[in-house]
Symmetry: C2
Subunit: 176 residues, 2 copies
């Protein structure tokens, strides 16, 4: 039930995700919840973050780092990103945590997620022909652009903002 748990944190933030909301979303009573997560809310959040990290490691970071065809790896990143964020209808849990007070408690997970994304993307961009420095800059622009597009799309309540911005970022990365 980690996905449902994640959705609660995503929608209400760490502090806002009350146990009432969590039991409602998961169908699990407090008894089960604290049997599964003796560490309480903090452990729930930690495991959700770990699961997200695994997903991105598999679907995004690894392809970026390991694809023989770097450009294909980058394409896979954009595809997976679009799927994961439901084309702008979904928000980034790690981003939400990063902006809030929860960042400090989960600093490692939050820091690691963005840093490894940026790093993996820079590596792919470099192998795709960009100069080292240029690749670093572009990777920062792209990861920031994705996060910003999620903010804007949700602010406007219009997923198309995300799709448009993602398409332009892809073009800048050399995608067709």
């Amino acid at each position: 039930m980690l996905p449902q748990l994640g959705e609660v944190f995503r929608t209400h933030g760490y502090e806002g995700a009350s146990l009432t909301l969590i039991t409602a979303a998961t169908g699990l009573g407090k008894g089960s919840l604290y049997h599964l997560f003796p560490g309480g809310k903090a452990q729930m959040a930690k495991e959700v973050l770990a699961e997200i990290d695994q997903w991105f490691e598999r679907e995004v970071f690894a392809p970026l780092r390991d694809s023989a065809d770097a450009q294909a790896g980058i394409g896979q990143m954009f595809k997976a990103t679009d799927v994961y964020f439901r084309s702008g209808r979904r928000v980034c849990l790690v981003g939400v945590f990063a902006l809030g007070a929860a960042r400090d408690e989960f600093a490692d997970a939050v820091h690691g997620y963005f840093d490894r994304w940026r790093e993996a993307l820079a590596s792919a961009l470099e192998r795709a022909g960009h100069a080292r420095g240029e690749a670093k800059e572009l990777s920062e622009d792209i990861v920031a652009g994705i996060q910003g597009a999620l903010v804007l799309a949700r602010a406007a309540d219009d997923p198309k903002v995300f799709s448009r911005t993602l398409a332009r970022l892809k073009r800048r990365a050399g995608g067709r």
Copy 2:
């Protein structure tokens, strides 16, 4: 005391900004608080949002729209933005609200802020020589880039991420 109030919402989000935190940050007891804001937390947030809107209207949107020299207006935007967000040490309250559950209650303010920013910037870019469509796209990229850079800077706990990204966005906008 709207600025101090804003800082609490910025740091803890709307739901996370408890009256205890608010009284501590402002030095005002509940009595004064509810005398000044009979509408409670919702009214406090609304007035904070309105004050932020005014500041951006004066320091950012108006210069973008009205500057005789469009490029100078854009330069003023980047300068004001860097000052307001304390070179990446501060987060965007409207962005925080946009990502959270508070977006719906304050939908007008949240939507208006980003939309008018994007619109004013697009107008300036067009007057600075970009084609209409290109200006619209670039304005979306820049506003999203700023928001994303704030997320990344806070995630990494490193303001320089914001400064670097802001400088690159400025270059893309034609700034020197």
